[in-house]
Symmetry: C2
Amino acid sequence: MRLQGTEPGLDALDAGILSALDRDARITMSELARLIGMSAPGVAERVRRLEAAGVLKGFSAEIEPRALGYAIRAMVRIRPLPGKLHLVEKLIDACPNIVECHKITGDDPFLAQLVVRDIEEMDGVLEALAEHAVTSTAVIKSQAVRRRLPPLR
Amino acid sequence: MRLQGTEPGLDALDAGILSALDRDARITMSELARLIGMSAPGVAERVRRLEAAGVLKGFSAEIEPRALGYAIRAMVRIRPLPGKLHLVEKLIDACPNIVECHKITGDDPFLAQLVVRDIEEMDGVLEALAEHAVTSTAVIKSQAVRRRLPPLR
DNA sequence: GTTGAAAATAGCACGAA
DNA sequence: TTCGTGCTATTTTCAAC
């Protein structure tokens, strides 16, 4: 196996495996084997190697927030007030409505994805942040590109 | 089962199921059954119902772009030039380095997540967009909050 | 939702290329 | 090394309750 971070390291079979697992992570190794034309132990071994190489970090469920009553999703840029960077980072982590947050370059250090049931709930979260940071909120209207993999080779 | 979008609709067992599947989507129904204290056919039935209700949209692999040689990740705000909205949307969809894109409110209609191997590749993507849109790029330095579920009840 | 039996699958050792 | 075959344990699925 090649070192992590060097390429390609992935042949067409690995690419097929990753692609299939991305479409349906609960597929059986047998079915996966049929799809790419290998034996089940063979693909299972490759999957283990991809995990060991750090390519496959895990498998997760795609859950639809709307179906849980979270009608609104928004991207929030967050700029902590002077001296409040660490405090704000803790606030962000402690806010259960923030389902993801990146530290980014530029004027606003954080870009968070917010999921709320209604405008009132959104306002509550933003108000709580407002004491220690300036926020810019953009409501998500739709997905132009649904989560997908980058080119695998 | 309650109508999609009405709450709660989820009891503690469903919440446990979703949480466990989010942590590891490839867990067996038997193991999941043990975790939440039910029989295997019982949990399997609940999982089917959560899928039918639109709560569980699917299961996907978490793939680490870095391990594939994509050293840089960035969030790009994209503002199409007048009359170029649809063209830009097509360009975005056709760009394999864009792994996700939201249509949002505000001055910049699109917020895309970009994954590239190096600065040169990033420049190439942004140059291609520059003909038809104004872009603002923020490189992702780290994840402050790793993808997680909102409160399930 | 549970139990129990049949079919499919996973995981292992071993041999071949 | 990496993959395939054949075995056993586990899991899935379906029936009946």
